[in-house]
Point group: C2
Chain length 366, copies 2
Amino acid sequence: MDGSEWRAAHTQSNAGSWMVKATLGFMNRRPTLRDVASAAGVHPATASRALNPGTRDLVNARTAERVLRTAQSLGYRPNPQARSLKTARSATVGLVIPDLTNPLFPPIARGVEDVLSRDGYSAWIVNTDNDEAREAAAVESLRDRNVDGFIFATAKLQHPITTQIAAQDTPVVLVNRRTGKGDIPSVTPDDAAGVTLAMRHLVELGHRKIVHLAGPQTLSTGVNRLRAYQHALADHGLEYLPERVVVCDAFTEEAGSKALGSLLDSGVEFTAVLAGNDLLAVGCYDALEERGLSCPDDVSVVGFNDTQFMDKLRPPLTTVHIPHYDIGAEAARLLLEELHSPGRHPRSVLLPLSLIVRQSTAPPAR
Amino acid sequence: MDGSEWRAAHTQSNAGSWMVKATLGFMNRRPTLRDVASAAGVHPATASRALNPGTRDLVNARTAERVLRTAQSLGYRPNPQARSLKTARSATVGLVIPDLTNPLFPPIARGVEDVLSRDGYSAWIVNTDNDEAREAAAVESLRDRNVDGFIFATAKLQHPITTQIAAQDTPVVLVNRRTGKGDIPSVTPDDAAGVTLAMRHLVELGHRKIVHLAGPQTLSTGVNRLRAYQHALADHGLEYLPERVVVCDAFTEEAGSKALGSLLDSGVEFTAVLAGNDLLAVGCYDALEERGLSCPDDVSVVGFNDTQFMDKLRPPLTTVHIPHYDIGAEAARLLLEELHSPGRHPRSVLLPLSLIVRQSTAPPAR
DNA sequence: TTGAAAGCGCTAACAT
DNA sequence: ATGTTAGCGCTTTCAA
């Protein structure tokens, strides 16, 4: 049977329709399948078959038609819990997000939802607040609710939870970040390519002393961007100096401010900063301002992600643009594939990105 | 029985625990209540009573203890769908949001989730994309899933959907916006007070010609802030000129840019803008920049909401700060009250706010 | 092509 | 204090 029809069958809104009946006194509860069946003069099993596109052709066309019309006129809507109890599926997907207030994630969530809903699925969004215990609890709760698959935006290089779930034949797709082994399908920006673009831009402006605020080295984004920074230095014939890298313990404004602050105060020489992401870059702005320094006059800054408002900052942030919405959409597509034909062709996708040059980068003063 | 205990009972994470059993070959499916019961040597009904804090005292203390331990050791987790099917409750609340990429809403959602989860409830977040049809579909889908209540961040002055749902004795709380009749509990910022603060600030700086970019007049926030603008003018002995107001059709950057653009191009004189919210204010920045004008040198701008990054704009935006997280948290509290004791004391809450003065406001040039 | 019957996992009224 | 029974609303064998 065609799963997508099965799910899409009752997705259309009959909003308020049974309420009309209720108000008119025909019925004071939601109609059930039995109600439809008896109103149509058939057995509930027949009504069920008629109502589900996948089994519809097991029933006489005229009967099916009659059942459909009856259901429509009663404003019947199937009870997903009952269906799920019976079938052990739920047409629902868990979307696990580390922090919804990070502007990177809402557009990704939108992409996920749009693609899923086209296929009759919905997303259950949970926030883990970057906390492993909360994540474990949230995931258990989603499992309890019989979600058919997961999309994780919380992957770490070592992330037992995704491994466990994937091992249980529950479809999983990672988004934005990957795990270390790379054995789980994922949709991420091409971190290395992004850093390459950013570094070339800085070098072309004339920068030779470029520091990197690296993200947590427990995350693929943190590690990949750091490595790409090192490679870019080599490619441009520049020396890699360990003191020019600070590893931040979180992708937050505060961590960025602290990291750049420590560099500025340490006497390490540099004219440009490659920040691990936009929030770290915003933290750089804070650190510079606190010390009366100017961006880009004293220091150039490049971010990563091109999140909302980065074009409105002072100064507007030069950053690597990633296709947020598409990342989510593509992740949902991979998951749907996996749901429809398990194990067919798992794969990981790197999405292309581009450098957006704004006013936070300029040639070095000297 | 104590509902909160009932729900909280199995909220703790046993992550992976039954998986261990499965791996060890004791069982290859999730243990059910029957499994627990038979392992503990009692009838499923007894196990159920023992497992639910609210009915626990109906059963022998030692038996209860044994059932609990058995459940724990098997890694038993109740199936919420089965429970919901039986009880017609779900310990779940629908959170209806117009647009998750508007930075106003994620912190509100966090507040909602935190308070709900403390009481064993979870939130189903749905995005309506400001579209009535999508909203209707989403709400129907939540109803299908037996949510116990709703929190709407999408209220319009005329908003049949909330009225309908509230009329069916489903608890509803509005957040950020209210409906026209004001008969549904709500938690909103004190729009009028906020505008009063903002206007006083502008007047004290010396502004006399202040325009207002009003939000949609279908929304309480749009209407309340416009009215408060008019009252503030009167309070300060300033004349209200209709041409100094532009009503925007959405709270978006684009609408703000268009609105201020039309004012600038129309020749209407003004030295300051009271924007209906931060996104409209950001739109003002765009319009000013396009015309080579400077904020605050040529025009002062005040926003509303103090959303993320408004302190990092160029120039940093003077805006009315509202307690985002608390708004969500308080809404969840009201809903929980309503859930626990329906019809006890419905009420609406206005949360206090404060003006954050930054660099987008300055005395007028002349 | 349709109906009968069973059961997903749980709770609650009733009986003991 | 515990067991019996029924049923929430649905799907899916199996039988006719």
